[in-house]
Amino acid sequence: MKAPRLFQLTALALVLVSAVEVGWWLLDQHRFAVDKVREMHQLYAQQVVAAQALLVAGAGAARVHALLPSVIVTNQHAALSPDVDRQLIAEEQRHIAQYAWEGSFFIIALAACIAVIARALRAEARVIQEQESFLALVSHQFKTPLASLQLSLETMAMRPLSPEHLRALIDRMLADLARMESMVTQILESMRLDRGRIDLRSEPVDLGGAVARVIAGFEERAAKDRIAVSADIERGLQVMADPLALDVILRNLLENALAAVAPVGGGSIAFTGRRTAGGEVELAVRDSGVGFRPGDAARLFQRFTRLHSGGGGSRFGTGLGLYIVRRLMQLSGGRVGAQSDGAGQGATFVLTWPAGESRQASLPGATDVEPLAPGPAPREHS
């Protein structure tokens, strides 16, 4: 068990014991007050008996009252003064009320401590569970390219191969290595995004120019897969964004669209940018690819989600690209959504930036911030 957790559990145990102690103290004090009042009653009762004895011995009522002021005499009969009785009851109630207030305060304070510690413990357990499940997911993701690498190497070792086949295997292995490198980059990026250790600038960026630059980087690949990529962005349309983050977002979306269109033997990808009536900036990326079932839209943006294989092609997804898009859009104050009419119906991803002024975006409570580093083009399947 880690030291902080042991400390938390010890503190929790101490607080619990203290709460029980306070409860016990409260009960004990209550009992003490009741006992004290009962003792006082007994003492006053003795005074009444003494007064009655004096009366019988012939002492006058005034004399008796002077000697025993708590006693009143009526018709030669001694009794405790009602004022004294009321005082005793009032004293008892005052003490009980005082203990109740003080006890309740301590109990509430201790309960608050318990709640805070228990919450911290639960949060820590959740973090540990998430880390473990993330590690499990990551290791599973790596096993497939590793298996492919091992298979290629063992094939080379086991079989006589033609130079062409050998070249194909080497290309496959290089692609597997590139895939693993891309996964490492994206995993590190997603972890930084999760921890909030990222500082996004917010400055006016020309959306048309940003889209054009990203498309230009993928021209060769799009042409090879017979995919027509077009952009129709309103002239002068600007978004408040971090230029590097925007580049990562657009690259991921285009990678995703290319991977979705390639398996169906080619098609089109269209970027459409406009300002909405409400002043928001909206960028839609529509593809004619494999699409997805409408119910899967939310799941697309979760880590390690891959809804379809690359068919017989050579595209791979790490399952992190769209997750990174969502996180970067969240940090930029924007949002992203996906829509498809079903498998084979293509898909549309819509980015929305709010109308408004330039502002700094970072996660609440973020410390030790780092600038967003440009990484290799992420790869993802829709």
Partner: protein, 268 residues
Amino acid sequence: MTKSSGTILDGDSRPEGRGAGTEPRSVPAEHTRHILVVEDDPHLAAGVVENLRAEGYEVDFVGDGQRALEWLRGKSCGLVLLDVMLPQPELDGFTVCRTLRERGDNTPVLFLTARGDPADRVRGLEAGGDDYLAKPFHLRELLLRVRAILRRWDWYRSASAADGAVLRFGGNEVDFRAFRARSWNGMAQELTEKEAMILKVLAERPGEIVSREDLLERVWGYDVFPSTRTVDNFILRLRKRFERDPANPRHFLTVWGVGYRFMTEGES
């Protein structure tokens, strides 16, 4: 259970529960050289396909569970290499295998998966898989296991042909080809592949002692299950199906510390 007065080959002798409403089951047809690879990673699929083809197998491959089920509805093959983590989570490898079994398809399944812990192995075998190989795997081991599974089914198929198709003992009647039986009290029974194979191994050597390890080797392969207790559980199931008094078996006898002896005539 449904009682039937006909022979065990009657179509109405299907028990309730498993198999009810499904297509008739039978020994997979002789397509032992034809393998279907279900793998969503194109590189890994290509590597597996190339190597299997180099070994002389006829190979097809698909990238997800839906296509696998569609392919297997229209065609048959001798073995399915099935990745567990497929793109549609609701149709992973386990579900595909379970669906196949439910619709009466006994095509052997070898799971390929990134998850290699014992719990997942057991899950795979419970889903009706024949073997389990964790990624990354050695090529030679993959080929060895493919050969072993196909050999097991070759043996079962040839042993269940003609003379060996039906086994009669103690009033019970077993049809190995249809995976069906009628027990001594007239109850129709539907056997699992493993039950049928265990029965077949025992029936080939009546009166002889067959060790648990031998049964494991012949029916599952060498290292699939964590313990030989699995065999004991299957024997218990066979006793329940075919013994008049399962607590005092006369056909499936335990030889303590060694294995089992099968008596066709029964032994008191």
